[in-house]
């Protein structure tokens, strides 16, 4: 892992076309960053990514009998 120090207003560059600028330091433990990346490069907060991962992992644990339970539940559901 690369660790580097930047001041407010300073930037670092990732590859050819991504820049990250320190915009502001808010209080003692927050930093506001400005990210410039091509529209083809997705940028997400890590915790959102981890949440989706966990959701996928749990969903994939379902067995083949799952639909036998779900389908009757749907048919007795007033909404569908």
């Amino acid at each position: 892992m690369l660790v580097l120090t930047r001041k407010i207003g300073e930037t670092f560059v990732v590859g050819d076309d991504i820049t990250v600028t320190v915009i502001d330091i808010v209080g003692g433990n927050k930093v506001r960053l400005g990210i410039n990346a091509p529209s083809t490069v997705p940028v997400y907060r890590e915790e959102i990514w981890l949440q989706i991962q966990e959701e996928n992992r749990q969903a994939a644990a379902a067995g083949p009998d799952l639909l036998d339970q779900l389908e009757p539940a749907r048919r007795t559901d007033g909404t569908t």
Partner: protein, 168 residues
């Protein structure tokens, strides 16, 4: 068009047409090593389907068409996601959402936050993040609220689905 055999820990040996195979270049989020999937339907009359790995016999995600449960569901795709699967218009895609079912079936949830988007043409697909506010990875599948228009599922909504058995 060629037959392809999937070995499934859930369903045994399943023969599909290789033309229906989806390619998720990034894999499902958290599963980057598995990129080729087929959509299987356990029963003809069910709205529940499986996004089943072609490579890993045990890897499959229960999925549905979101509109069956959320008739007013909306998706906004980023330019990056559209470009990644090579589509430009809404009529070129199909959208599925992963369903998460625990011990209590009535408490099942649907991930409306990160749907799977499929290019209906070349079958490239991607699990994306819906940029419309208000959806979560765990919305209730069965809601208490009323639904003005019950939504039926049509073949054209989910093309190229392999039905494992009929009837039931």
């Amino acid at each position: 068009m060629a037959p392809l055999t999937i070995e499934s820990t859930r369903f045994g040996t399943v023969e599909i047409d290789d033309a229906i195979v989806l390619t998720l270049e990034q894999g499902m989020i958290g599963f980057p090593d598995h990129r080729r999937y087929a959509i299987l339907k356990q029963r003809e009359d069910s709205v529940f389907m499986w996004l089943h790995s072609v490579e890993d016999p045990s890897l499959a995600f229960p999925i549905v068409l979101p509109w069956v449960f959320y008739w007013d569901y909306e998706v906004d795709l980023s330019d990056a996601d559209m470009a990644a699967i090579g589509v430009e218009r809404a009529d070129q895609i199909s959208i599925y959402c992963v369903v998460n079912v625990g011990a209590d079936v009535r408490a099942a949830t649907i991930n409306l936050f990160s749907p799977i988007v499929v290019n209906n043409g070349d079958r490239r697909a991607r699990q994306v993040i819906n940029t419309i506010d208000g959806y979560s990875t765990r919305d209730q599948l069965f809601r208490e609220t009323d639904s003005p228009t019950p939504v039926a599922m049509h073949e054209s909504d989910a093309p190229n689905v392999t039905v494992l058995t009929t009837g039931g």
